[in-house]
């Protein structure tokens, strides 16, 4: 098994393209976007399907890459999260095929 870094970013739908541009420009090998169904934070619940504009929907971006690539994106993602609603975390993971990341 080979060690890599997994980045998980939960972010509002309207900022998705901005986050994806940051990841692509920094050269991460890939990412996957998943819908977030509902959640709770700062004293209130939120749920998908509740707003026709979908402007309050949240999404999850998952990217597994080498440490250098992930470090490249952290500063810009931090700046993005200064403006947009979201949560960012990274963790060490083990992958079977390192050439894919």
């Amino acid at each position: 098994m080979h060690e890599k870094i997994r980045l998980e970013l939960i972010i509002e739908r309207m900022a998705l393209k901005r986050a994806c541009r940051i990841l692509e420009t920094a050269g991460v090998s890939g990412y996957t976007v998943l819908p977030a169904l509902s959640g709770y934070g700062r004293g209130s619940r939120w749920q998908r399907d509740r707003d026709l504009s979908a402007s309050q929907d949240m999404l999850v971006i998952v990217s597994i890459s080498d440490e250098a690539s992930i470090r490249n994106v952290l500063l810009e993602l931090h700046e993005l999260l200064d403006q947009h609603i979201g949560i960012l975390n990274t963790s060490r993971v083990e992958v079977m095929r390192p050439d894919r990341f």
Partner: protein, 325 residues
């Protein structure tokens, strides 16, 4: 009084009230997101096609161009009044006040659709080109709000990952503008012959689909109100009720000065009075991410939309009838 009662007891308003009550009582009833979006597209296509067909019957006169210009001017100017009133009467900061003002300069197409049905039921006529006025009034308010938010402030650096032109794409090419303007042009090109072929889908079921959609709008409004009311103080809620009246009065004066007939005057008043909750919230998340959606969405969807549907539309129609009827 009869008009107000018949509007309040119409199936579309009663279905809206059903949805609103269900949400306020914490019912688990939901309408799937994709289905609700499909209904919205259907309604915009139907109203666009109908407007286009009516426009194809006659040439666009100078007066129609003047109404188009009036709609654009209204959308540009109403946010200035809304912003000033919010800053003067409420505790909202500059960003929240500007974002909320944008919603009140733009329009709600569902309020417009509901108003066309009330006008029809009252035995009045409205012109097809009013659909084009609705489309023209979607975007200018957003530009005014951006200027209001930036006035006197240092130019803020662009948000990380942003791209030039992304806001304009969102504002000018959002689904409601594309579908509404597209259907209007298709209706204009194909005329009555084209409409005859698709009327079993776009004309006959229209009222039923509108009821279904308003049931969903009631659910959205009720949930928004339940979750967001804590963010609003009395002055902000009052704004959601008196701002549509001010906007409608300005729209009415403009319509009167242009010599518009009662049905069209009522529609211009409705467009001025309505507040966006589809196109503008999305644009605001891009342009002013620091503004709180719980404030502007709760006000436009939870306060102003139900007010216009139940009280505003019959009131505007009554005054339009009184002035031009």
């Amino acid at each position: 009084m009869d008009l107000m009662l018949s509007t309040l007891l119409s199936p579309m308003v009663l279905f809206f009230v059903l949805g609103l009550s269900a949400a306020l009582l914490r019912s688990q009833m939901t309408i799937p997101e994709a289905f609700a979006k499909g209904l919205a597209i259907y309604l915009m296509m139907a109203i666009g096609l109908k407007g286009g067909v009516e426009m194809s019957r006659s040439d666009i006169s100078l007066q129609v161009w003047a109404v188009f210009a009036a709609g654009i001017v209204l959308s540009f100017c109403l946010p200035v009044i809304a912003f000033a009133l919010l800053r003067w009467t409420s505790k909202l900061d500059r960003i929240d006040a500007a974002a909320t003002a944008a919603h009140y300069g733009s329009i709600s197409i569902v309020t417009f659709v509901a108003a066309t049905q009330v006008i029809k039921a009252a035995g009045l006529e409205s012109s097809g080109y009013m659909v084009a006025v609705a489309a023209l009034m979607e975007a200018p308010a957003i530009m005014t709000a951006l200027l209001l938010a930036q006035r006197g402030q240092k130019k803020s650096p662009s948000v990380a990952g942003s791209e030039s032109g992304e806001l304009y794409r969102e504002v000018l090419l959002n689904a409601s503008v594309v579908v509404l303007v597209g259907a209007l042009i298709i209706g204009w090109i194909t005329g009555e012959a084209g409409m005859e072929r698709i009327s079993p889908f776009f004309v006959d079921p229209f009222q039923g689909v509108l009821c279904l959609f308003l049931l969903d709008m009631g659910l959205s409004a009720g949930r928004g109100l339940r979750q967001g009311w804590r963010q609003l103080d009395f002055s902000a809620i009052a704004f959601g009720l008196y701002m549509p009246l001010i906007s409608a009065a300005i729209g009415g004066v403009l319509a009167w000065s242009l010599g518009m007939p009662a049905g069209d005057m009522a529609l211009l008043m409705v467009l001025a009075a309505s507040a966006s909750y589809i196109a503008v919230p999305a644009a605001m998340r891009l342009a002013m991410p620091k503004a709180k959606p719980s404030i502007y969405l709760t006000l436009s969807l939870g306060v102003t939309f139900p007010f216009n549907l139940a009280v505003g539309i019959p009131l505007y129609l009554y005054f339009a009838n009184l002035i031009q009827g």
